[in-house]
Symmetry: D2
Subunit: 339 residues, 4 copies
């Protein structure tokens, strides 16, 4: 249930109403927007008399919220969520702030990550991505550098000032991620519905980049965000990364760009797009990145490698630094055209 409070109601009156609602065993999410305050009621609302609520002089209107996603629902948080990364003047995502996240699939060496970090920063990226813990389909394949990879990412952050984005596969690594102050913790497509992991991420304050499942629905993505938010962490960034379809001959996945405007309508959370995994082909990354921007994405996350042919993972879908530079320029032009 959603309660819209009239403008100019004193906060103490709102607090009083919230206390009364909480006594009914409801979770109350209070959102103070630019225009007005919205109360989102989560839980069993049957004990609440809607007509009585509507008749209160501080209440403007009351609406049902039958959607199963609650905390992430735009109905109870009409404005875009803006997630600021790092203290002070760090970059932000959402509400008009665009995240250009770039870097190699896997952190491979100190030289590699420092070089790529420098290149993508020079091209205009405002975040550095890189995998240290890698979820590989085969147990016999390279599994990432692990904690050493995290250390190298931290060095690249120190060298360039770029906040870092890297994947967490298991909650036993969470302490390390917090200690190293990983700026954005990524949940990969294979763990989107690993609910125990999501619950742990709900207990921290770090920004979480939550990828859509390999063949996950839009609703499942929102419900997974809900697992994080219901446990206390509001800093969730959603990521479209391509879905599994029958069309496999020319693309690794089918990038579902319509998910961008669909999600922007349903939720206040930022939405970014991963055209690298979404297509699996470096030659398609530029056009699909531009399309993502035109579709209204709050950012893109792109694989860039110093030498794609020799990458330890996902070389076929990695841009060279030069190709990334060209792309960043075009993204700027499209963003300008859309204003």
């Amino acid at each position: 249930m959603v309660v819209i409070v009239r403008p100019d109601v004193p906060q103490e009156k709102i607090d009083h109403l919230v206390r009364w609602l909480k006594d009914k065993q409801l979770v109350v999410r209070e959102y103070q927007g630019q225009q007005q305050t919205v109360l989102g009621l989560i839980g069993d609302t049957k004990p609440v008399d809607i007509d009585m609520l509507k008749s209160l002089d501080i209440v403007e209107s009351v609406a049902d919220m039958t959607d199963t996603f609650k905390a992430s629902n735009r109905k109870i948080h009409p404005d875009d969520t803006v997630i600021r990364i790092g203290p002070g003047k760090g970059p932000a995502i959402g509400g008009g702030n665009f995240a250009l996240i770039a870097g190699p699939c896997s952190v491979e060496s100190r030289e590699q990550i420092l070089f790529v970090a420098g290149e993508v920063k020079a091209a205009g990226a405002n975040f550095l991505r890189g995998g240290a813990f890698k979820p590989r389909t085969s147990p016999y394949d390279f599994q990432g550098l692990g904690s050493e990879g995290i250390d190298l990412l931290v060095q690249a952050r120190e060298a360039t000032g770029l906040p870092i984005v890297t994947e967490l596969m298991d909650h036993r690594s969470l302490e390390l991620f917090l200690e190293k102050e990983v700026d954005i913790i990524q949940v990969g497509a294979r763990n989107t519905q690993n609910y125990d992991l999501l619950k742990e991420l709900g207990k921290v304050k770090s920004a979480i980049l939550l990828k859509r499942g390999l063949a996950g629905t839009i609703k499942e993505l929102l419900m997974s965000a809900e697992y994080i938010m219901a446990n206390g962490n509001e800093n969730v960034i959603l990521c479209e990364r391509g879905i599994r379809t029958y069309e496999y001959a020319y693309t690794r996945n089918t990038l579902d760009l319509s998910a961008v405007p669909v999600l922007k309508a349903l939720t206040h959370l930022p939405v970014v797009v991963d055209p690298s995994h979404g297509t699996g082909r470096a030659d398609l990354v530029p056009s699909m990145s531009l399309a993502a921007v035109a579709a209204g994405a709050d950012g893109i996350i792109v694989e860039v490698h110093n030498d794609p042919q020799k990458a330890l993972s996902d070389g076929a879908q990695s841009l060279t630094p030069g190709a990334f530079r060209d792309l960043a320029l075009k993204i700027g032009k499209i963003r300008e055209a859309l204003q």
Copy 2:
């Protein structure tokens, strides 16, 4: 097999080679590009001695063409195909010429089609679409106005000068379409693999807008184009219109925009996008249209209705004339930004 002819070879020498190849029971497609002449050999090339071919002084290089699509293959036709509609100064599609095709799902009445045609023309559309023969899932639903609908489209063309695009369901109607000079004959998603229909369309000269099947692969779309081209009609426009996936809760289909750059790389034929059927939702059409343009489409085909709520078919996915006008403006800006 693809034979690249050296620049500046006199045509009579090329003709001689072509005659020799045809004697081997091969179909030879000769393409005179801006840079050079390319010969595409279709059929059983085993009787041809590749080394002998390569050694000819008029031949620059010879390459294999194992793709099953031949006539539509960019390898034997490196430049974009440009399809000019109508005599003289009619609009063109492909090679930088953008088709903005708009109009109602179904032609419903004289007033309706004339009104919508006027509106979309004023907004910048250069083609008018409208359904007269409608492939409906249920035999009990409205099946379109049939030949009367074609007549009304012709009147709208006379009134606005816009060339018309409309669907052909059965080759028994082809004579009517030719007599009325339908400018672009559409093959719908349910008939993409109706090979006998495609063969008939190969015998005419009209432009054909060929939609991808309901759950058709990119390769199947190319092979269906091949059925038309192998029978003699080169004027084929390909259309991405969304594919069937497990994600159905929020969109009617999943618009596969990556098909645009994939197709542009594989074939020289123009590629347009239908965001109306691709999403099924009017509120998603603008963002997905812009994304299609950014992805490199040669045009879009959009449903516009005077009163979407009362449309006899597909109202939920139809734009109002006003929304279409806004969209056309933004498309112009994106196209400019991409230059």
Copy 3:
């Protein structure tokens, strides 16, 4: 709307009610079951006063029928449809009669079809299948023997007594099919929604084997049957033949056997299964055939070839005559066990 008539009501009273309903512009399907008469009303039922209908002394009950499929709906035809093929003592399909349909993908020569027909008959098949008009993805591939293939099938029928099943791709061939008395006319997966073809098949009396679309839904299959039935032909056999999914590495399609019990609940029409196209692999055909029988199918249609390795089409999914003989024995045992 469905009207259940009380038992033992004289026919003239029913006729009177039917006339009255037809006057309301409704199509009335009258079904005389073993227990009682059921009237199915198709069209706009708003002008009919339900309470009045219920109060009639000849009416036992009235129920809504919101399903979009009407003529094929089991609600207005509670017993299984049994389709008898050929005059007199020909085999039947449905209502406990099992169709074991076997033969080559393509008719290739007189020797081949006569040999395979003899083999499958000896093994227990009661129908012969064989393709004469072949819908091939590529225009450059073998397209079937055409009318010559039909003649060869007729010869095989004469030699073995087996009724023949073969695919019609275009209504221009329908006259030939009728003249040659093709026993069951197959509509292939690419033409399942070729509505103009379905309408033509509604005007004849031949049995129609209607395949599910390449990625068709169960409802679309029923709606396509509806196109045939609404035009007058009740002899429709539905065929599950595998659907297109993301799982392509090991099977050509994903055979959806749950479609069998789903369809048997929704419709009175017989349902057969094609495990050859459903899997694309001869080694999987036996187990999936047995599974189809256990799932309740009214028959299976299986590709059998004298020399699968040399088949002009679909060799990889064709059984040898010996493998088919083993399968037929096991099918008999499973059918016995289920009784």
Copy 4:
């Protein structure tokens, strides 16, 4: 690489060869079948000279194994794996031993689980299933009784003698599962690619029932089994439970029964089928269970509830005890017919 050893070679000679291969940094899986010994070499086999290997007098043949799944591959373990549950005369799965696993979706109370356990045992089940830790899409839904549920399962095991099958969601619960001696630990469809969890399960000896992912491929299922086996646990049972497709109107998932014979050909591990989740409809469970048996499954896992209408989860797909009894009888008949 696969090395087939000649029959009657003394073990010490085999040991010698194995030591030599391990010195090349290879993992060597030695399988002593009924007919002969097979060595499976996992890792980088480039340093091994194939011709030299072939020339050894103890070697019969050497074959490539390019498949990415190794330990689960039937090529290096030609006979079916038989997994015996519990000490002494406990039931087994695989190699002709059929597992009839039944019980409620969720353990709800002592009375419920004891009642259902008694009923399914009486009907012929040889395993009891029940969920204690429940992976629910919504954080606001019933999440299972947790460790209390495990205790109740243990009581039901004591009362009936049936080994128990229940889902593990997080490795932090593994100690509890081991302490309570859960007989078969289930990995649910959402955790099929939770590799850190799989690695932990590789370190124990319990039998693992590994479900195919929500939209997982057959190969991914095998690779996940590989994660468990590569870490030391060979007791893996694979489970087909329906895949996500575009067909959602009538079934919750599309049960891919062809996965059964496909898997039986590729791997030596037992394969069971879950028709409850596979269809989501109790009325389809019997026919699809019989189909699974006919397709060659080594068992089925079925939801049975004392009062499906009131079940806390998955009521719509749960059989009543009576319906399960009928099904068990029919399964017996089909199994007999197939012998």
